[in-house]
């Protein structure tokens, strides 16, 4: 009896060990060459093509096969995921404060990351436009029309989405240009704007889906590249793009997460990956996916023709730089919280 008991115990022990080992083994690092790019929401289609481009380029230059993986979501949520341990070698997020947060809270990115690459580490830019239903039934021309009663505005949640924060600042900048430094009027404007928002999705793509697919809202405030993509995906007979009188220069930055790209090989791949974004091939691909390239010469003129000429604010000139803007508007208890709180 005792011998069999022992065997049975052994059996259970083996099962438990197998389970534990499979857990740990699954956690072991992969031997293959791979790169994880944690990105923001609207870049799915772009990076699918870009990753193939990079893999082919790396293979032809170095002869090695590298597997690129991406994860997409609201920029703020993605930054927090990396802080919480998501092992990204490269982050390509929607705005600088999110990468600053990773640098500050996890120490895996050097504090001077933004100056390490040209153009403040932003290989391309974009801006904020309106997407409306075909024929523009509510006659939405500018920001002022968004605060009228009866207009439903779709915009994502600034707490999770990067695009949402660009939207917020663009709106604030318009209000400031209209009301001057009168803080009370600006806040009323923003309150009315967010009062007209039935739902705040967690990411820009989620907001686009809510507007285009679920048929909710009269106008979508969002990335220019998302709006142009929606036109090409859903056909130009469903939606129109309206360029507001004033918008903001959005600079989505990129960085190598040095704390996760520890080996020389990993570091080289990560750096090369970001370098390719700035190279002519990468710039052309960015323009193709409706991002405004830094190097206009490398892009296809047909792609460039889609970009409307807009009056653009910048975070540095008009908002005192991102650290100040982030603290004033998007920190706990900042203007967004004040404006949004007490509603319902």
């Amino acid at each position: 009896m005792r011998v069999s008991c022992f065997r049975a115990i052994l059996g259970h022990l083996v099962a438990a060990i197998v389970f534990a080992v499979s857990l740990l083994g699954a956690a072991a690092a992969q031997a293959e060459l791979s790169l994880l790019n944690v990105s923001y929401d609207p870049t799915r289609e772009f990076y699918r093509e870009f990753n193939a481009l990079f893999a082919a380029d790396w293979k032809s230059r170095m002869g090695e096969t590298v597997t690129i993986r991406t994860s997409h979501g609201g920029s703020g949520s993605q930054a927090r995921a990396v802080i919480d341990g998501l092992k990204a070698e490269v982050v390509t997020l929607a705005l600088a404060p999110d990468i600053d947060a990773i640098a500050a809270k996890s120490g895996k990115i050097p504090a001077d990351w933004q100056s390490r690459r040209p153009n403040n580490s932003s290989p391309y830019t974009s801006t904020i436009v309106f997407l409306v239903r075909k024929g523009n039934p509510k006659a939405i021309k500018d920001w002022g029309d968004l605060v009228q009663s009866g207009v439903a505005v779709v915009t994502p949640n600034p707490k999770t989405s990067g695009g949402a924060r660009w939207n917020y600042l663009a709106a604030w900048g318009y209000a400031k240009s209209k009301f001057g430094e009168d803080d009370a009027n600006i806040r009323d404007f923003m309150k009315a704007l967010y009062g007209n928002a039935p739902v705040l999705d967690t990411g820009a793509r989620g907001a686009t889906l809510t507007f285009t697919q679920r048929g909710i809202g009269d106008v979508l405030i969002g990335w220019e590249n998302e709006a142009l993509l929606a036109l090409s995906e859903f056909g130009g007979d469903k939606f129109d793009i309206v360029a507001p009188s004033l918008s903001i220069l959005a600079e989505p930055p990129v960085a190598v997460v040095e704390g996760n790209a520890k080996t020389d090989g990993a570091r080289k791949i990560a750096e090369a990956y970001l370098d390719l974004l700035y190279a002519p091939a990468g710039q052309k691909l960015a323009a193709k996916h409706h991002f405004r390239p830094r190097d206009r010469g490398a892009a296809d003129p047909a792609d460039l023709a889609h970009f409307a000429a807009l009056d653009l604010l910048t975070v540095d000139k008009d908002f005192g730089g991102w650290p100040a803007a982030q603290a004033k508007h998007f920190s706990d208890g900042g203007t967004f919280d004040q404006i949004f709180a007490g509603r319902r």
């Binding site: 049975a8 115990i9 259970h12 949520s77 949640n157 707490k159 039935p198 705040l200 048929g215 909710i216």
Partner: protein, 282 residues
């Protein structure tokens, strides 16, 4: 002389300590410790904090929506499932065995697949959603869509619980009722249904518990608009994406507690009915 109270009755069979020990080990590691972590984190928020968060308008609205729609769908399923179980048990028709097997589909189909399929059907340009849209009825991306999804996942619970009981019913009672000149409908209502109440309630409880926690099949078809069509599990995920862990934990724990008390209430009702009807119900 008082008999010595043992933990386990003596049995010649081997392996009690081993099997119980293994069971408890797996149970603790995989189930109790995670749930314990949840409760612990919620208690860090404190009962006052929990009440504050639970009564926030958006949280309250999500909880109310989840629980009310789950109750409604489970109740609807009791009627629907009861009829389906009756037909499958008592009537013979071509394809009966096929339909009987098909009732288990919602069990086997992954929730995400059910979600996108239901969304495609009930969207304004879908097979059923299209005609309904011309009538002004919005199913997908509205609370009605959530209701439809919850019916889908709850239907097999009721059918599968009622079928065996129905099949077991005594002929004699119905015959007796008929000889006492009761109309057929009256017989069904006053003789058969009471015998089924326990099984119907069991099915209701199972369908309700499943519906409250359902995420995959609902999140595609709901509009996810706060205060209108945002279910409680989605709110947990949104709070997590905002990295508001205390908020997420609170909503989760309140959901668990509410479900627990509702289930307790209904189970007590079931036990009471079981006792009244004199059957040895579990």
């Amino acid at each position: 002389m008082a008999a010595k109270l043992r933990f386990v009755r003596h049995s010649p069979l081997p392996g009690f300590r081993l099997s119980l020990g293994a069971t408890l080990l797996w149970l603790c590691v995989l189930v109790l410790i995670p749930i314990g972590a949840l409760v612990l984190r919620a208690s860090e928020v404190g009962p006052v904090g929990i009440a504050e968060i639970a009564l926030q308008p958006r949280v309250f609205a999500a909880l109310r929506l989840s629980f009310s729609l789950s109750l409604a769908a489970a109740a609807f399923n009791v009627v629907l499932g009861g009829i389906v179980a009756w037909v499958l048990t008592r009537y013979e028709f071509p394809g009966r065995k096929f339909f009987d097997a098909a009732v288990d589909l919602p069990f086997a189909l992954p929730t995400a697949v059910a979600g996108i399929a239901l969304t495609a059907i009930y969207a304004p340009n879908g097979w059923i959603g299209g005609p309904l849209a011309t009538l002004g009825v919005k199913v997908a991306f509205a609370p009605l869509g959530i209701f439809v999804a919850l019916i889908f996942i709850g239907l097999p619970f009721v059918v599968r619980t009622v079928e065996p009981v129905l099949a077991d019913l005594d002929f004699e009672m119905e015959e007796a009722s008929a000889t006492l000149s009761a109309h057929r409908f009256r017989t069904i209502l006053l003789v058969i249904v009471p015998s089924l109440i326990h099984a119907l309630l069991t099915g209701f409880v199972l369908a309700f518990a499943r519906a409250v926690g359902e995420y995959g099949s609902v999140v595609f078809i709901a509009g996810n608009i706060p205060f209108v069509s945002e279910i409680a599990p989605l709110l947990v995920v949104v709070r997590l994406e905002e990295f508001d862990v205390p908020g997420a934990t609170t909503v989760a724990v309140v959901m668990l507690a509410l479900s627990f008390f509702m289930l307790l209430a209904v189970n007590s009702l079931r036990a009471w009915i079981g006792r009244r009807l004199g059957h040895a119900f579990v």
